[in-house]
Amino acid sequence: MLSVLVFAASQLLPGDIGRNVLGPFASPNDVKALDHQLGVDRPIYVQYGAWIGKLAHGNLGMSLEYKVPVASLLGPSLVNSLKLAAVAFVLVVPLSIVGGVFAALRRGHWLDRLITLTGLSLTAVPEFISAIVLILIFGLLLNWLPVTAASPADADAVTQIRYLILPGLALVMVLFGYIARMARAGTIEALESDYTRTAFLKGLDTATVIRRHVLRNSLLPTIAVIATQMGYLIGGLVVIEKLFNYNGIGQRIYTAALNKDFTMLQSGVLVVGIVYLTATLLADILYSLLNPRIRYAGVE
């Protein structure tokens, strides 16, 4: 399904592939010959069949632009993107959940307003602006962190993470408001529930009630939201990767689209799609593990 969509979308892009590769001065015959060689003159369904057939064998094809196997370029980019996503994830999830839960516990208090308002404002600021502000402050003014994300080739893990903190922070600013708001809403709902009252009336102290009774139920919807953001974290970072000059999959796809490198483009989008689906699936599994009502739906 996903592959059909990706394939159809790439067919919609303008331009004759052979003409693109060979340039405007090539003879029509040469273009035709290359088209034939690449197989793009065949009917669309035949092309799709051939593409899918190769995919099934793990063959992503050759990059039209670089004349090397797509996988050899896409692989490292994906790894890079996953690293950045991991750093952002590790930063944003605890931060926004703690923020959201804290806001819920102090509902109506100025701290709640502060957290909610900050989150909302940060979400509203486009990432290229917040990223530039971050670069200016931490990179140039304070000179604490490197302004590019790409670490030197032989850098160790710690250095790599150091390089990824700034772009990671930019992502935190985008996602914080969203996730924190979900965590806040979920917590408020749980706090007002009858079972929380039951827990308090058992004589449990507030900390125990929050830990054992509130959080368990309040963070369920938040998990689902985080999962839907995973796809964005891995595939949608064109702007951030560009700004920090980071060789991730977003930038790879972006370049491929500019260069009309169709095989690369198709594969890149497909990989992002698969990552997205996997993340969603994992989140669903996690969700059902945490929620007995779903886990045991079939039992009663």
Binding site: S193, G203, R293, G298
Partner: protein, 686 residues
Amino acid sequence: MTDRGAAPTLELKDLEVVYRVRGRDRQVVRGVSFTIAAGETYGLVGESGCGKSTTALAVVGYLASNGRIRGGSICVAGRDVVGLSNRALRHLRTNDVSMVYQNPAEALNPSIRIGEQVAEVFRVRGAGREEALERTLQALAKVQIADPGSVMARYPHQLSGGMQQRVVIAMALANDPGLLILDEPTTSLDATVEAEVLDLIQHLQAEFRTSVLFITHNLGVIAKMCERVGVLYAGRLVEEGPVSEVLKGPRHPYTVGLLRCVPRGGARKDRGRLDTIPGFLPSIDEELRACVFAPRCGLAQDICRATEPPLYQITEDHSSRCYFHERAQDLPRTTPPELGQPILVDRSKAPLLAVKELTKTFEQNGRRIHALEAVSAALWPGETLGLVGESGSGKTTFARAVLGLFAPTGGTVELDAHVLPPTLSRRTQADVRELQIVFQNPDSALNRRHAVRSILRRSLKKLAGISGAPAEERLLMLAGSVRLAERYLTVRPNQLSGGLKQRVAIARAFAGEPRLVVCDEPTSALDVSVQAAILNLLVDLQVQRWVAYLFISHDLGVVRYISDRIAVLYLGRLMEMGPAEVVFDGPHHPYTEALLSAVPTIDGGGRARIKLAGEIPSAAAPPTGCVFHTRCHRRIGAICDEKEPPLVEVGPGHLMRCHIPIEELRRLQAQPQEAAQVAGTKQPAA
């Protein structure tokens, strides 16, 4: 049971509770005082918004964050608990007071196993893990849960409502509290389950010698459970006294009115309207200086509107806050008792609705749920068929299949002798117009984004095909017929009270002059005084328009009041159907007999309780033979287990599905009940 000598378990003195709304304090509890002696059960009764639950929450120190105790004192076991520190409050909750509230499904944490949740109560009192689990097992056995070990390993959603409430009660009694507060503990349960839970509470109370504050709107439950009762109105305790005195000889006009609203003692629509209480509960914005009930009271004089009446002591322990308490029972009726012309249903003609062998099977997780098994029924113009049975009996499935909300697996629905297409989308506009529904919850039935006027206009256009200027005229007539004042037409449903919303929902259903209206628990979410007004309205509309009702309710008093005939369903099968008086007066099907005996009545006494063994079996695997045999107290032998009895006519228009001959049932049911109670009854763990 009651020990008046010792210090009272709970003593409220001039309790005043306010909620801060939009910068102002609004008073919800106004100087309430009462005491509960050790081992006593005290009932607190009143309609929604009268401050019952607020009073209870004040006792356990769990008012909403904008709530505050402004005055008075609350003493639990002789100690004032107002303004306790967090630590002292925790100690109070751990040791002295427990509370059970209405919806057990929400009172239990959905993601923690039952065992762990109950064990917490012991853990918080310092028990070790092993000991806590061991005591949990005992506590669950004490509330008569059959297999406590396996229940402990389950999650709340895997238990039935009755089981959940048992668990909550087990949790509440685990710390052996001096005071147990029950806030509408059985309101969301089926009558049979309610009866069992009430029995359990009585039994445990005798054992633990706990004092109970029992909050409910159900006067029947008060009559069954309590020794003394306080009647709360607009945050004021208007009458207090021994239950029998207050219910039989009320001395406050509000109590008198409340008692008159309840259809009971065999009240029926053809013997007259129910009385209602005019007007509305004062909003919490209003400052009340005089008698709180004066604006709605038929006895009110100038003095009632000028100064607050004192508390008159009528007998030693019966008091009333009314100047005219001696005349309270002369309270004039608000609604004239006479109806228009009584309807004479002519059953020799063709019926309006004929349902034939209606069957519905659902597929769920690969299992077949037999929700409805070949149910046939007919309905004539101007009559009401009441549908009764526990949840899961198929009442709602039947009504929805008639409406065409889903296609039945088998059988047909005929309207005026033509077969209706199975689903709504394939029915004609005329068919849709003639079959309408009023739901239990008007909140979700009405579009909250539209004003009442546009809701009704839309219905007129859709159902009656009227728009433009004539629609406005019809709209006013329609609103008038459900007694909805014109000023309400411009507001949105969420600004209306529950009763007014239900009037809008009824007007909507009647927009296209329907001939059959399905009423699915239309008054269950309403207070008794509002319920009475809605029932009167439905009866008036029936008399005027000869509309037929298919009326679903778990409240047997209500069903008896409004129904001409009654159908009793169990596990999707019709067990008994007949004229209302015959079904209620007997001889009944053993299941009907058990249902009737489960209902607590205001007048008390009446039938001995028949305990049904166990819970309603799963419709995925209904018992063989007679589906009721697993719980039947009159099972006669192997024939019940093996052969499903046919539905036979045992009297004029009276159908029954039982192997026992009707004469034998008549003889059995005339006897005192004692001997019949043994079958499969769980004995309480001593």
